[in-house]
Amino acid sequence: MNDIGEFTLMVALATALYGTVAYVMSARGNRIDLYLSADKIPLITWACVMISSIALWKALFTNDFSLQYVYAYSNIELDYFYKFSSFWGGQKGSLLFWTLLLSTYTLVVHFQNRKKSLIVVPYAMAVLLGVTVFFLFLLNFSTNPFERIPLPPADGRGLNPLLQNYWMVIHPPTLYLGYVGFTVPFAYAMAGLITKSLDDSWIRLTRKWTVVSWFFLCMGNLFGASWAYVELGWGGYWAWDPVENAAFMPLIIATAYLHSVMIQEKKDMMKVWNMSLVLLTFVMTIFGTFITRSGLIQSVHTFDEATLGYYFLGFLFFIIAVCSVMIVWRLPLLKSKNELDSFLSREASFLFNNLLLLGIGFATFWGTIFPIISEAVRGIKITVGPPFYNQVNVPIGLALLALIGIGPVIAWRRATWSNLKKNFHKPVAVALVGGAVLYPILPLSNRSEIYTFIAFILCMFVTSSILLEFFKGTMARSQSHEETTVGALGSMIWHNKRRYGGYVVHIGVVMIYAGIAASQSYGTHIEKRMKIGDTIEISDYMLRYEKIAAVQATSVKTRIIAQLAVEKDGRRIWTARPEKEFYKGQTQPVSEVDVRSTLASDLYVILADFSEDDSATIKVYYNPMVSWLWMGGWVIALGTMVCAWPDRLEQRRRLERLKRQEIVFSPAQE
């Protein structure tokens, strides 16, 4: 099966290469023979990559240590669950997984458009297959997952214990689904530039792809934060690590695009801007991959054998050059005659939102590459840590949060101060009352706490402004359509899925802001060397160290489990069991934290160290409102589902347009 897997990888490269060329030639020469021939390629390439993937999975499940990859990332004792996920645990497998997703997306785009005679389709397919060629080239000639070991060992080295966590089964595929998904809007944008089809059609073709990819990237970031929180054992979930930043930057730019594209749809302007954002989002996904796989930076997220830097750097420069040339070349077609009606309008608020998002994106980019530039230019290794990002991104983030609240209550096209006052007074009143209530309760002794106080006020402002929008809309509909309140709310959302789904997403974002603000400012921690019976106090909790025990979990894993009784108001409410896990062949043990999570706070207990006399060093974090982050993620998921739900009205409009177009432009009339 390994031979077959390696062989199909090579065949996939050949077919993808042929497909790229054949699609372009079929479009340029308008040749049916070449098009029908190329039309088979997406399915063949996908099937070949799928066979290779199955071969690698089979090798992992059957402990075939003749493969270097299986030896490096699996062993006999590894749970099947993690054998499955070790497919993307290493560089080679993760690249194969990336290629599998890309070829699957390409196949879906192919099936979506195979009956359409749009000239952009073959070019978009060529771009998708072209990107696939790059990844297949790497898999075949630089990082082959089917590389053999001449004398296969009896057992493997096993998967990095940090990756043996359920979040690592979910987090990378979700992130990759987002990363890879942005190749589709990129392909359509390039096809639009090539064919001069630069009206709204490419935006409409890619709208759902963008929303879905954005969603996966957003959830991928959140799942990654969850993994860091429960597995890395430092009490936090985000450290502005370069690889975290690499996944964050495309998300930020795609968010800017999702907002600014609405201005293009409504006002037929900002075409250059939107085109640039789509292309930049894809560039950032490749930049993220370059960061992870170049070996230039050290991170818990980078791959051990990060040697692909030059390939990705070359690819990155190639894409940037092509995109720049294409935009400059088509600039006359992308220019817009329209202008904003007023700077006091929702369009203008979207424009500011874009500037702020790009500000965050640029600050994050600069912080990420500065150590690399510093080392290359001056030979000095500098670390850019959380203080830099917090100093720059927190104020911008707060301004952005304010805009989320301003957006719903400001009119499209033009608003006036008197109407703004009328619409703002309720959300502002809610925020001020909330602020007045919080003021005596919350500490305001440093900048971070002041920012958090402002964030809470803004969260209340945004939430009330969104809820007010739902309320007003429902009431207006209820009166004009003579519907019940519940019926009016339902039909209002149903007929404006994008708008109200977007508001639900914003509620989720507000929850995330609240969670970050509270946990970053009001969290406390304590570390203590404890003997059996000792107690430790944090916030309202008292933890009593009861015992410690060693358990041989499997033949390769030993667990040292400490037990602490957690009391609140003199009543036992929970038993914390933090662990240290020792894996055979690994020098460092892994901490398995124990977390009691409630809406108000998390109690996060770590077994930092232990001795033979049963004493142990226990570290306890009290993290307020961390669960709001994860709940915010689910609310975002709900909102995205509403946004991406198939819109019959839009489909009907599209069909009517096509019908009319056909009547006017049918060949019979020529």
């Binding site: 049916i32 023979d33 088979k40 009119a411 006036t416 004009s480 006017v664």
Partner: protein, 113 residues
């Protein structure tokens, strides 16, 4: 020849046949893609713009109902949007008539004008 080699050979042959048949078989001489016609593109764009302007009028009404715009702004913006809609509809009608009458060339002139 081993079984694996046989399978590999079979795979290549299958792919060659699937990809090659359209290249060497008899096919009707049709053109798979309609060329990008600037007039058609403009027509398509106008249809989309028409929908967007009508949608904007609806949104403006909703903004009035929810007190986001004043009556004066509503009136002036509505007049502006209706003017835009009328201009678009006129262009669409002229383009349709012109296309039916004399084909692309004069329609192109209209667009250029």
């Amino acid at each position: 020849m081993s079984f694996i080699h046989f399978i590999e050979l079979l795979l290549i042959a299958g792919i060659m046949v699937a990809v090659g048949i359209p290249l060497f078989g008899k096919l009707p001489k049709t053109r798979p893609f309609s060329e990008v016609d600037p007039v058609e593109e403009a027509f398509k764009h106008l249809l989309v713009r028409k929908e967007e302007v009508l949608l904007a009028i609806k949104e403006l009404e909703a903004d009035l109902q929810t007190d986001k715009v004043s009556n004066e702004d509503y009136e002036s913006l509505r007049n502006k949007l209706e003017g835009e809609a009328m201009a678009i509809l006129e262009k669409i009608d002229t383009l349709e008539k012109d296309k039916r009458k004399s084909g692309k060339s004069s329609a192109k002139n209209l667009l250029l004008a």
